[in-house]
């Protein structure tokens, strides 16, 4: 059986706890992820040294489903965007194989995970709107698993990686056409926890 994920309720409690501790947070209309320091990639030390003992890190993020339920923008972390240190991976239509660019991004994401050895993430698999909901949920599951398997080959233990598929249900871009569809055929990473400070 897979590892138990933090339920949406627990992540809300997590977020509330951070708020109570007086950490700076973005306003409610933006996903929590954008509160992180900009320019974060795998080598950014800032997010881990910013922690005090016993405190939950402000880099805990909302999942796409949580953002959706709250009426917020579905988060995306494209390569050029500031925000999450873990960038989204993109796929070809009806495919779950990794393109060279995807492998590069995953290597960077793996570095971040190695720098934050107690960090746990959830890998979300998504699809564009074409095709049926059921097939796309299965496709998203395959995409998330492909990423998990690849990160394992890069030395990240599987107990730190959970997966979930949202199929075509949570697009970041709405509307027909390849420019939108391309952005939706993705895997997105959600930092579940960074664990206790070392």
């Amino acid at each position: 059986m897979g590892k138990q994920l933090i339920s949406p309720l627990n992540s809300l409690i997590l977020a509330s706890f951070v708020f109570l501790m007086g950490c700076s947070l973005t306003p409610a209309s933006k996903p929590v992820a954008s509160s992180q320091r900009p320019g974060g990639t795998g080598q950014d030390q800032g997010s881990s040294t910013g922690m005090r003992s016993g405190q939950v890190t402000e880099t805990a993020q909302s999942s796409s489903l949580e953002a959706f339920r709250r009426g917020q923008e579905i988060p995306s972390a494209s390569r050029r965007s500031a925000g999450s240190p873990l960038k989204d991976i993109y796929f070809d239509f009806d495919r779950y194989s990794l393109q060279p660019e995807a492998r590069q991004t995953l290597k960077a994401n793996a570095s971040w995970l190695k720098t934050n050895p107690s960090g746990r993430i959830e890998i979300e698999g998504h699809a564009d709107e074409r095709g049926t909901n059921e097939y796309n949920l299965a496709l998203g599951a395959r995409r998330a698993q492909t990423i998990k398997d690849y990160l394992s080959t890069l030395g990240i233990t599987s107990d730190r990686l959970s997966t979930i598929s949202y199929g075509e249900e949570l697009p970041v871009c709405k509307g027909p056409g390849e420019s939108c569809w391309q952005k939706n055929r993705r895997a997105h990473f959600v930092i579940i926890s960074l664990g206790p400070s070392s």
Binding site: F68, G131, Y135, A138, S165
Partner: protein, 439 residues
């Protein structure tokens, strides 16, 4: 609650007068062939036979439902009521109480007359179907029901009319479960009458809900929901309105197709990214794993006699339909046309499978013989058309189409003829599932 009215309806039905021989003997050739002429029929307002005043709710309402159902059936052309010449204040509904010439002069070949009486919480309604040329009553029925179920009386009589004309009962007293955004962002499960009216919202989970699927006895619905954060399959009891968990395994739990005897449910489950088809019992326990493929195997649909299942697999490199024989264990590919074929549904007659196929960049509804062969494309040049579901008599298909902008539910004959819009809603209506015959 409203759910009760979907199921616990008592109808007392009595035969009226003398029926003559069924009409199908002489009209069969006229209405059952593809592309056949539609049979001209008149449906005047119902007569109020009781003392209580009616503002048209029953006299117009019940006649309108009959007229619309007959149009939806694709077999009838309902003559415009504004052309009717009979003075209903001077005539009755039974033989001898009206003049057939008032109807034959309009070109009507059949006539539906009715009357009703409301008393207390009940309504008594009678409907009669006449053969205008032979000047005979074909069939007459009297119905007694709770007043809130008056619409079902109309639908039931339409089923009777269709029986008289085709030898097989109609499906106009059934329901369709589906997913709708209702104008907002959440996808919830709804149930409507098969004509698209009387919609009821079943879930208020404020999340993504998908793939409703009726049990063969019409009492429960399986559906897939992210209401607990992960894709799980729930079972909704339609009379109590309560949900119970059906499958909450790690990973994807998706869909649900019931065997005709209601004992086995085919579901898609995931193990480490790999989605496969499994058979579960009524308690959600796995009884058999049907596919062991390292790709995607999803969306099973049972054959009506329970010996086979059709499902989607990408084992050949793209999603195609395959049929698994349950006794022999053999899996055979069904579709060879088109590069992307999904959401199969096995017709209740057992001979055909409907599915969604991608052609020319758009999605269309196809049917293919269960034994294989060339597919028939039923929709074209009308946006994207997806998620077919068969009526319980195998003569109609409901599907979702965005031909008018947003996705709405559409109805068509199994031949693709008579495509009619069923739902009008502010959001997107998708994933329809046609109920079994109810009651």
């Amino acid at each position: 609650m409203v759910h009760k009215s979907l199921l616990i309806v008592s109808f007392i039905i009595a035969m009226l007068g003398f029926g003559s021989l069924p009409l199908q003997a002489q009209v069969k050739g006229l209405i059952v062939g593809p592309g056949a002429e539609r049979f001209p029929i008149a449906v005047p307002l119902l007569k109020n036979l009781g003392p209580k005043m009616d503002d048209g709710k029953y006299s117009n309402g019940m006649a309108d439902i009959v007229a619309r159902d007959l149009e939806l059936s694709g077999w009838f052309k309902v003559l415009d009521r504004s052309a009717y010449i009979e003075d209903s204040r001077r005539t009755g509904t039974a033989l001898g109480r009206f003049d057939f010439r008032d109807w034959s002069t309009l070109g009507a070949e059949a006539l539906v007359k009715g009357g009703f009486e409301v008393s207390g919480q009940s309504i008594v309604a009678e409907f009669r179907l006449f053969d205008v040329y032979r000047r005979r009553q074909i069939v007459g029925k009297r119905y007694t029901a709770e007043i809130k179920d008056f619409r079902r009386i109309s639908h039931k009589f339409v089923d009777e009319i269709i029986y008289q004309f085709t030898g097989e009962r109609g499906v106009f007293d059934t329901r369709i479960a589906y997913v709708s955004t209702g104008g907002g962002r959440f996808k919830e499960i709804y149930v409507a009458h098969m004509d698209g009216t009387e919609r009821v919202q079943l879930t208020k989970n404020r999340t993504i809900n998908l793939s409703p699927s009726w049990s063969p006895n019409g009492r429960t619905l399986l559906y897939t929901s992210f209401k607990e954060g992960k894709p799980r399959v729930y079972q909704r009891d339609l009379s109590s309105g309560k949900d119970s968990m059906f499958s909450s395994r790690t990973g994807l739990n998706l869909g649900g197709s019931w065997s005709s005897d209601g004992k086995t449910i085919a579901l898609s489950l995931e193990r480490r990214g790999n989605v496969d088809v499994y058979l579960l019992d009524q308690l959600g326990k796995i009884v058999r794993r049907l596919t062991k493929n390292s790709g995607i195997d999803v969306s099973p649909s049972w054959s009506p006699n329970g010996d086979r299942l059709v499902f989607v697999s990408n084992r050949s490199g793209s999603p195609q339909l395959y049929i698994k024989d349950l006794s022999g264990g053999e899996t055979k590919r069904l579709t060879y046309t088109g590069g992307y074929n999904t959401s199969p549904e096995w017709s209740s007659k057992g001979d055909k499978i409907a599915y969604t196929g991608r052609s020319g960049g758009r999605f269309n509804i196809f049917t293919i013989a269960a034994k294989g062969g060339d597919p028939q494309m039923l929709t074209s040049n009308s946006g994207d058309n997806e998620d077919p579901s068969w009526s319980p008599d195998g003569r109609y298909i409901v599907f979702s189409s965005n031909r008018n902008g947003r996705y709405n539910l559409y109805l068509m004959r199994a031949t693709g003829e008579n495509q009619r819009r069923l739902t009008v809603s502010p959001g997107d209506d998708t994933n329809p599932s046609w109920s079994p015959r109810l009651d």
